[in-house]
Symmetry: C2
Subunit: 93 residues, 2 copies
Amino acid sequence: MNALNLARIQAFMREIKEWSLESNAIVKEFRFADFKSSMEFADKVAEISERMNHHPSILIEYGLVRLTITTHSEKGLTEKDFELAKEIDLLHK
Amino acid sequence: MNALNLARIQAFMREIKEWSLESNAIVKEFRFADFKSSMEFADKVAEISERMNHHPSILIEYGLVRLTITTHSEKGLTEKDFELAKEIDLLHK
């Protein structure tokens, strides 16, 4: 899967909500009431990422989960990154 | 629980292994073979932190878990931080 050019990245960005571009990655923060809820969400994200064989970086804090998605092998963003973001957004509507 | 002074922090640092001091926190990275193993370790850390009612920041990447422990309410390190670090080290000997 090849790295996307900027035009395609911008098109994909319009398909996902509240993710931001940070250098070669897309990033989103999810807020929760407590640590347990944050961890439960992180576990669901991990399940999806195992199934898709594509893994985000997950930062868990007390009431916050921050996800960073990129395709390391391409040193850029690919369709796979946006597919993962869309699946994750379905968890947390 | 009060923030520790530097002499006490240094004494506690000698009781834990491979943690480093970073401003007001102690930090340690744990390496794993894959994402699933990283996530399983993070879940165990979360269980301990729920039991102790003291929560680290947990960064999960493919083969890495990075823990950052501090006491936000004291804007510094307390005994509770080192107690949590010791419990976590028992998981991963």
